[in-house]
């Protein structure tokens, strides 16, 4: 193994890691605001990516407009999901497991709808900054990958500030920690839950737009992203969106180094085995108990 190959693998690992982190971030946002494990987070990305693709390819509008449309599509789907399905289910006194089944069911339904209406064909968005690459010590770094890291980092930072410094962010946290306590100080708890799904959807939509130039959009993309996002979020500590970044980067790097040292066919086996080992020794996530408070 030479140094350039190793560096190239690290770059790929970091890029994939930020993708997983963004999806995991969305899962953590929804969980933090509602205590619901959202198994359709990847579908926000699928829908966001598809909407952006339609705006760019069918309407011929600029990528910036497509990006906004894709992000908003994820947000609208998230809000609609909470309002139309989660809220009535909660009103009937559903337990936690019901939401997992509900979101998983909707994930499969969206995947099937994409297969039915759009088919098995794969689609790809143009990258931000074009298709070119920069060279770093003989390793190639796509301009889009750089934008992905920059934009993902900005979103993570903004989310942290949102939860720590804004009244609405704190209210969303409070509503999920103690519904009765929140309601009795004037917080509209159902609205906060809707906003958490909206925010999770926006993050998911952005992930969809950012990953689509790297991995093609197809009907099964959502479930695959959800699985990796779950791993990232749980690894970092589900209550801490910032933890998803650590988890995502760890996962991405393990995968890419596994490809380099063993075989691409074993990358998921090696990554998941290591995750199991990490979770045995660090059951509260890689950031420990502190991750449950952080933002």
């Amino acid at each position: 193994m030479n140094g350039t190959l190793l560096l190239q693998s690290v770059i790929v690992g970091i890029t994939n890691g930020f993708v997983y982190a963004l999806v995991g971030l969305g899962i953590a946002v929804v969980f933090r605001g509602t205590r619901i494990i959202n198994a359709m987070q990847g579908e926000f990305s699928l829908v966001g990516g598809l909407v952006a693709f339609v705006v760019v390819e069918s309407l011929g509008w600029p990528l910036a407009v497509a990006t906004v449309a894709g992000v908003l599509a994820g947000g609208v789907l998230g809000f609609a999901m909470e309002w139309l399905l989660v809220r009535p289910t909660r009103r009937r006194g559903a337990g936690e497991e019901s939401y997992l089944l509900l979101t998983l069911g909707v994930a499969f339904a969206i995947s099937a709808a994409v297969l039915y209406f759009i088919g098995r064909d794969t689609r790809s968005l143009p990258g931000i900054g074009g298709e070119g690459s920069a060279v770093l010590f003989d390793a190639a770094v796509r301009y889009h990958a750089m934008w992905l890291v920059i934009l993902s980092s900005a979103v993570m930072l903004l989310l942290r500030l949102f939860y720590d410094r804004t009244r609405i962010g704190l209210s969303m946290m409070a509503a999920s920690i103690d519904e009765d306590g929140a309601a009795t100080i004037g917080i509209d708890v159902p609205l906060m839950r809707s906003l958490s799904f909206l925010l999770g959807g926006l993050v998911g939509g952005l992930a969809g737009v950012l990953v689509s130039p790297l991995i093609t959009i197809h009907y099964e993309m959502g479930l695959l992203l959800t699985l990796k996002g779950f791993a990232a979020a749980i690894l970092g500590g589900l209550l801490n969106p910032f933890g998803a970044v650590i988890g995502g980067l760890t996962l991405g790097l393990i995968e890419s180094l596994a490809v380099l040292t063993v075989s691409s066919g074993y990358k998921d086996v090696i990554a998941m085995t290591l995750l199991i080992v990490i979770m045995i020794f660090l059951p509260n996530g890689m950031l420990g108990r502190g991750s449950r408070k952080g933002g």
């Binding site: 103690d178 009765d180 306590g181 309601a183 004037g186």
Partner: protein, 239 residues
Amino acid sequence: MLRAEAIEAGYGGLPVLKGLTFGIERNEAVALIGANGAGKSTLVRALCGLLPLTAGRILQDGREIQRLPAHQRTRHGIAVVLESRHLFGELSVRHNLELAAAHGERHGAARRKFRMDDVIGLFPFLGGRLDASVQLLSGGEQQMVAIARALLLHPELLILDEPSTGLSPKVVREIVGALATLRSAGMSILLVEQNVALAVEAADRAYVMSLGLIVQELDAAAWKGVLDDEALLQAYLGS
């Protein structure tokens, strides 16, 4: 200022409040006493909007409020400290208080406003623990945070559900002292308590509750002598 008329409420079709009627006037402190299972906490949840009524009505200054959700009732001058406090344990004391203050800012301009300095004046320990995580505080400290949080909503009526449960006598004294200060400032208080001795000290009069109904109303004179009324204590409190 607050009147409940023939209210009924319960859980899963099981009635707990069975046509209960009572009232509290402006600038008075009223105790609600009763044995375990009398329905006191259920009444508190119904008053603050966490439990819907199945019958009856709740009037605040003549206006029906029973259909308002809990988060809107705080705007009408009713603040509650629930049993078990219901604080946001993962957040700091400062965030717990600031959230209430932010929501309280929008409430009635005519009401007395409580600022952060006021609640720190009432419970001085808060000043040094603002950045501490609530879940790391003692039970007594958490109770004071809960009362401070309710005050930052600028209430006209403060409802407290079993504020002395599980607290040391020293902390209970501190809370009784704070309630006396609030009383002298003109705040109305509904104190739900099993600790009759504490309730006698803090309230002007009382209602006795049993099996979802008000079974006795004690005026000021009867209330002050209640600790000597063994028949009543035995009948309704089992002590």
